[in-house]
Amino acid sequence: MAEQGYNFAYLDEQTKRMIRRAILKAVAIPGYQVPFGSREMPLPFGWGTGGIQVTASIIGRDDTLKVIDQGADDTVNAVSIRKFFARTAGVETTERTEDATILQTRHRIPETRLGAGQILVYQVPIPEPLRWLEPREAETRKMHALEEYGVMHVRLYEDIARFGHIATSYDYPVRVNGRYLMRPSPIPKFDNPKMDRSPALQLFGAGREKRIYAIPPHTGVRSLDFDDHPFEVQKWEDVCALCGSGDSFLDEIVTDDRGGRMFVCSDTDYCGRRREAGHAGPTSRNGEADGA
C-alpha cells in the first residue's frame, strides 16, 4: 500500500504526462535525445533521478519493479530506489529478472534475456555521445541532424593507436536503427549486443541533463567499429567463482591484502539462481575464498 501524502509514484500527474509525451517522442525517433522538464527529486542528481522520473511516469499499480545497480539488487542505490517506489507507489518489487515488468538499471543489462512486455529503464549520467569532441550543444544537435558522425571514429582510432585495440569498454557508442548515434550509458560493452533487437522496450533518462531517449523493441543497435578492428566484447579467462558461469559479466573482487582475488558474476540475481539450480564455481566447490 502506498504511503499517504504523496501522489502515486511521487510525481504529480501533470509532470508524468509531460514525461510520457517525451517518452512517446523518444520511442517514435529511436536514439534521438528528447529534452524534458526534469524535476527536483528527493535524491541528488547523479543518483538516478532521470531513471526514477521515467519509471515514475510509466509505472502502474500492477507493475512489478526490479532495480539493479552494477548488476546487483542489494547495493545502496538499488535498495533506496526500490524502497522509494515501494513507498510512493506501493508496487510489488522483485529481484527476479523475468518476474519484473519494469527494470530500472544503473550500468548493467541483466544476463537473463529480457522478453516482450518488459521495460528496461537506464539511468544516464551524460547522454550526448558527441560531447567529448564538441562542447557546444547547438553544434552537437546539428551534427545529429546532419548525421555527421564520422568524428566519433576518431576516438576509436585513438584507442587502437594507443592500445592496439579499441580499449573503450564502457559507454561504448552505438548507432540506433541505422540513424542516431547514442550513448548506452556506462554499461560495459559486454552488454551492447543485448540491446540489439531486444524484444523489451529500453528507455533512457538523464535527470541532470534533462534528456530522454529510447530503443523500441526489436530495433537494430550497432556498436561502432572499424572494418579491420571489429567490435568485440570483454572475455575472461576465469569463470564465476560462485556459480561457475563462463558467459556472464564478471566483477573482480579483491579478497585480502595479499593479492588474493576472485571473479564473480556482476548480476547477483543470475548468479544466485544458477547456484540454486545446482551450478557451482571453483570457490563454492573448494569452500575457500582464494581457492581458485
Binding site: 576518431v154 582510432y157 587502437i160 593507436a161
Partner: protein
C-alpha cells in the same frame, strides 16, 4: 568588392591590420555570411552555387572535403587532445573511411608529404613545435584532396627560420596538387613567394589588384606604394 579565383590559382590578400582581410577570407569560406552580395563556388557536379544559398548539409560537406582552412594559430585548426595521426585521419573518417589500416597508411603518407617524422604519428600535437603543428594542420586539411584552401597568416606565428621551409613546402604542395588558395597575410614577402595574384586592401576596400610582382614592383595606388615602400629589405 568583387573578385574571382581560378582553379590552381593562389590569391594573396594583403593590407594592414584592420583592413578587412580576414573578414573577406571568412566570408568567402562560408564562415561568415556577408551582409549583401554573393559568393559562388564551382561545385564538382552541380556547377556554380551560391555557398550561402545551398543547403546546410551540402555546405558543411564542402567545408570538410572540397575546402580547407588553415588558421594562423594551429591550435585553432587542430584537435589538440588526439594524436597527429587522428588529426589527419579525422576528415577521412568524417567522409566514411572505416578501415583503420588504410586511414593510418594515408596519415603516414601525409606526414611524409609535409616532411614530418612518421614515427611521431601517435604523439599529441602539443608535443610538436609551432612549425610542426602548422605542418600537421596543413596535412589535416589536404588529406581529402580539397580544391581550395583558405589560409589566414599561415606563417604568422612562426620563427623566420621555420617560415622559409614552410613557405617552400606550401608552395610545392599548392603547385603539385593544383590547389587554388587564398592567403591572407600582412607579410609582403610571403605574398610574393606564394601568390600568383594580389589584392591590396585598405579600410574594407580593394584599392589595387593584379599580378603579384606587378603590384609589388610597380604599385599604382598611393596606398600600395606606401605599403611596399614601408617594408624593410634586409
Amino acid at each position: 568588392m568583387s573578385f574571382d579565383i581560378w582553379p590552381g590559382e593562389v590569391l594573396g590578400i594583403v593590407g594592414e591590420s584592420g583592413s578587412g582581410k580576414t573578414t573577406v577570407l571568412n566570408c568567402i569560406s562560408a564562415r561568415l555570411e556577408p551582409t549583401s552580395g554573393t559568393v559562388e563556388y564551382a561545385t564538382r557536379h552541380d556547377g556554380p552555387a551560391d555557398i550561402y544559398r545551398i543547403s546546410e548539409p551540402a555546405r558543411r560537406l564542402l567545408m570538410r572535403t572540397d575546402w580547407g582552412f588553415v588558421h594562423q594559430n594551429p591550435q585553432e585548426g587542430l584537435r589538440m587532445e588526439v594524436s597527429a595521426g587522428a588529426n589527419i585521419g579525422e576528415r577521412l573518417m568524417a567522409v566514411g573511411a572505416r578501415h583503420y589500416g588504410n586511414i593510418r597508411e594515408t596519415a603516414t603518407d601525409w606526414l611524409d608529404k609535409v616532411e614530418m617524422d612518421t614515427g611521431r604519428m601517435d604523439d599529441l600535437p602539443l608535443t610538436f613545435s609551432g612549425g610542426m603543428q602548422q605542418r600537421l594542420q596543413i596535412a589535416r586539411n589536404l588529406v581529402t584532396a580539397p580544391r581550395i584552401v583558405f589560409m589566414d597568416e599561415p606563417t604568422g606565428n612562426l620563427d623566420v627560420s621555420v617560415q622559409a621551409r614552410l613557405l617552400d613546402l606550401l608552395r610545392g604542395l599548392v603547385s603539385d596538387l593544383g590547389l587554388a588558395a587564398v592567403i591572407v597575410t600582412h607579410d609582403l614577402a610571403v605574398a610574393r613567394l606564394l601568390s600568383h595574384r594580389l589584392l591590396v586592401m585598405r579600410r574594407g576596400e580593394i584599392v589595387e589588384s593584379g599580378l603579384t610582382d606587378q603590384v609589388l614592383d610597380d604599385p599604382q595606388h598611393p596606398y600600395s606604394q606606401l605599403l611596399v615602400s614601408s617594408v624593410l629589405h634586409p
